[in-house]
Amino acid sequence: MQLIKTLTASTAMLVVATGAAYADDHMASDMTLVSWGGAYQNSQIKAYAEPYMEMNPGVSITWDESSNEAVAKLRAMNEANNVTWDLVDVVAADAMRLCDEGLAMEIDPDEVLADAPDGTSAEDDFGDLLVSDCFIPQIVYSTTFGYREDMVPAGTPAPTDICALFDTETYPGMRSLEKRPINNMEWALLCDGVAKDEVYSVLETEEGQQRALDKLATIKDSVIWWSAGADTPQLLADGEVFMGSTYNGRLFSAIVEQDQPIAMLWDAQVFDLDGWIIPAGLPEDRLNRVLDFVKFATDTQRLADQAKYISYGPARFSSAPLVGKHAELGIDMAPHMPTDPENAKNTFLYNYEFWADYRDDIDAKFQAWLAQ
């Protein structure tokens, strides 16, 4: 009996206490953010999380390095009715998928996100980069090539054209490419003489897909297929491959921070986006906290700050002029941004709608082709 009384009393106190916390500002005091780990997550901690916690001393942030499997994990959490994440960093294609599955919350950018300092609405400031109703873009990154400068044959000019990838006579050596059709198929068609704006209409057809695979087949024996972004910088550093594709930030850190004899080949770099999604169905207090954080973390200054730590371009137009110097090395970051005019002479824009439709089909063919 005594026990029951104590239990009731403490439950009542708990209710009062939570009630008080609610009355405070209806915001939870801790958040779980999901990101990619490594240098990228570090840049987010430095640029967003630390200043935010300074402004809100009572808030604690837990980081979970699960972005790689975010889609599957979020789906499993949702089915178990126990979503423990508050904000998840994913690439745009995953954001679209999560939105389609009803796992991410739809947002109204003008309401949720901060305006630019000059008063431009968030929707205009992010512009075309708002590729899904659930997606809050942070950075523009690109998948591009790096090559070993010391492995370019003597007397041959350094490669400036994406098609050096397929030219194993002029540039002998292994290549590393991602073990999935996305990007590789587009590059293959570009180098097979398809005009840039026709790539996706060619790739829609059976013949076009076969044509891309046939082009890739010409170098199949000299390709190492990677599945983690760190593979290509490692393979380049070890001299295992002559050239390879990866995310531009990875190459930046290999070239600038680790001083490897690697050079960038920006030609036909493929722009892609990374950003936040808010899981659907968060309780009100957690949602309020997340919305407060997101508004802060995606404002013009914060996005520009992130570029001090990693060479990815801020997703807001208004952030671009504010990009400064590297926090530790003190070098100008602008020339290392994928969006820098000098680097972006010839770029390729990833077509989200196309890959959402064709991913399963083309991936089946691509994997079957790899296994042959």
Partner: protein
């Protein structure tokens, strides 16, 4: 009997724990390989209407199907379920994903094609309270419950509770489409959004549905003799049908996206409309379900049978090399003096305690073309610098790394079995005139077979399910079926296919276990003593 009960009670906690945390989740995951309820749940009316359609004519289905599709999709869009359905069907028919996504966005526009002229004919149609009064009545409780169940199945949410609305039986009879759309709207507004139905403006689909009803001449004559609530507005609409769009929903849909007129898309929807499907299992053996029956997939898409055979063959090779390498080590362990044996034992166990990823990455450093092994071979002059061995990113890499990783699982059972073989047997054999080899082969080896059996089963079953190591060192021809399962679980989100592949793998392993039992006998397996 009582004793049995008591024994059962004693093990019950463990039994319940195992069932709840292990068997139930696995079975529910495997059940996904045939489960297909998302299609009949999300577009129930369409599925029923579509069953009458004959896909072999190559003609798109009848207007009736499109009307059902509109009513079904509209509420699915409210619940954000239509894109999930699109993703599901996109596994079978490329392009359906964006078809559902873009159509979802334009469902309001389609409804407005009817809403605007209806409101122009009689402004009463703008009022939520007018609609409420017209649709309410008595006798529609059964209809309401029917729609409630459909809504709950579609949205996967609990739809119980008071709606504050009962449709009128007379209206249900006179305006069947409108009654469906309005009841769906009322359920959603009252239960999901917590609003009062009479104060809310109805969905655009309700206007579209009234448009559907008005195309029926019987309905028009019924309206003209109707005198309940809203009679004058309905009669005005019936009198001015010429102001409503002169096309049906088939045209409205095909105008939004011409794929809705594509018989192939409809054939796929029809094929996958039952709540159970063999489709995932067929896919996982490189076949596919088509309107003309089950067919092999085209050559350029066949992959799973190759991967299954490769997984089995390579797991056998790995098991074999584990026996070859593990047997002498286990023999040494069992026969050396205690002190030396324990040091050797630590050497066996040490890698066992190291993280799998670390060990695999270490193999990468050793095996790559500029790696330690190749460097040494080049330095010794065994291999030409331009012609270095390719030891990884292929099947060789997988076999080498996995043999190393799984070796302790072979050595430990072998060791514990060998430990129990009395050395006096071999001595006795030799004293009777056997050579060293005969004594080993005829006396020692047969006694160690149970250890080989136990080790082989462990290694083989572990090898079959491995995916991290093959992913890192396997390149393209050293990856296993588990890598595709992992891809479908975490990347393509095709859990049905992943479950089917997993089920097949499970059945294959059980089948092999059964064969092993028949050939070697499971009594011959010993993990120790």
């Amino acid at each position: 009997m009582r004793q049995k009960m008591r024994a059962l009670m004693l093990v019950a906690p463990l039994l319940i724990f195992v069932v709840v945390t292990f068997i139930v989740p696995i079975l529910s995951m495997l059940f996904r390989s045939v489960e297909n309820e998302i299609v009949p749940n999300t577009i129930p009316g369409t599925v029923v209407a579509l069953s009458e359609w004959d896909g072999s004519t190559g003609q798109p289905p009848h207007e009736d199907v499109y009307r059902n599709l509109y009513i079904d999709l509209f509420k699915a869009e409210e619940a954000k379920q239509h894109t999930r359905l699109g993703t599901r069907l996109n596994y079978e028919q490329t392009g359906v994903s964006s078809l559902f996504r873009t159509t979802g966005r334009s469902l309001d526009d389609i409804g407005e094609l009817w809403q605007d002229p209806l409101e122009a004919i009689d402004p009463n149609f703008e009022e939520g309270s007018f609609w409420f009064e017209m649709m309410s009545g008595t006798g529609g409780e059964g209809f309401l419950e029917q729609r409630r169940e459909l809504m709950a199945a579609m949205s996967d949410e609990n739809m119980s509770g008071d709606v504050g609305f009962v449709p009128s039986a007379e209206i249900i009879e006179m305006l069947p489409w409108t009654a469906r759309a309005y009841t769906d709207f009322a359920l959603w507004a009252a239960i999901r959004d917590g609003d009062t139905v009479a104060e809310e403006d109805p969905w655009e689909s309700v206007y579209g549905a009234l448009g559907m009803d008005l195309t029926n001449p019987d309905t028009v004559s019924a309206i003209n003799s109707y005198n309940g609530a809203g009679a004058s507005a309905l009669q005005a609409a019936a009198a001015n049908i010429d102001q409503l769009p002169d096309f049906g929903f088939r045209e409205a849909f095909t105008q939004e996206d011409e794929d809705w007129g594509n018989a192939e898309v409809w054939a796929t929807i029809k094929l996958y409309s039952p709540s159970m499907t063999p489709g995932y299992f067929l896919n996982s053996v490189d076949m596919s379900l088509t309107p003309d029956g089950v067919k092999m997939k085209p050559d350029n898409q066949q992959i799973y049978t190759t991967l299954f055979t490769r997984t089995l063959v390579m797991a056998l090779i790995i098991t074999g090399s584990c026996i070859l390498l593990g047997y002498p080590v286990a023999w040494l362990l069992a026969n050396l003096p205690m002190r030396t044996a324990s040091i050797l034992m630590i050497l066996v166990l040490l890698p066992f305690w190291t993280s799998l990823l670390v060990r695999t990455s270490a193999w990468k450093v050793l095996l790559q073309q500029q790696g330690v092994i190749n460097e040494i071979l080049v330095w010794l002059g065994f291999v030409d610098d331009a012609d270095r061995l390719i030891l990884m990113n292929n099947a060789t890499g997988t076999v080498i790394a996995m043999t190393h990783i799984l070796l302790p699982f072979m050595i430990l059972p072998l060791y514990s079995v060998m430990k129990t073989i009395p050395p006096s047997y071999q001595r006795a054999a030799k004293s009777l005139g056997a050579t060293n080899w005969t004594a080993f082969w005829r006396v020692y080896f047969p006694q160690s077979v149970p250890g080989i059996g136990a080790g082989s089963i462990l290694v083989f079953i572990l090898a079959i399910g491995y995916y991290i190591t093959p992913e890192i060192v396997g390149g393209t021809d050293g990856v296993f079926i588990s890598n595709r399962i992992a891809y479908h679980i975490s990347s393509s989100l095709n859990w049905g296919l992943a479950a089917a592949l997993g089920s097949i793998l499970l059945v294959v392993v059980l089948g092999l276990y059964w064969c092993y039992d028949k050939i070697v006998g499971i009594d011959n397996v010993k993990l120790g003593g």
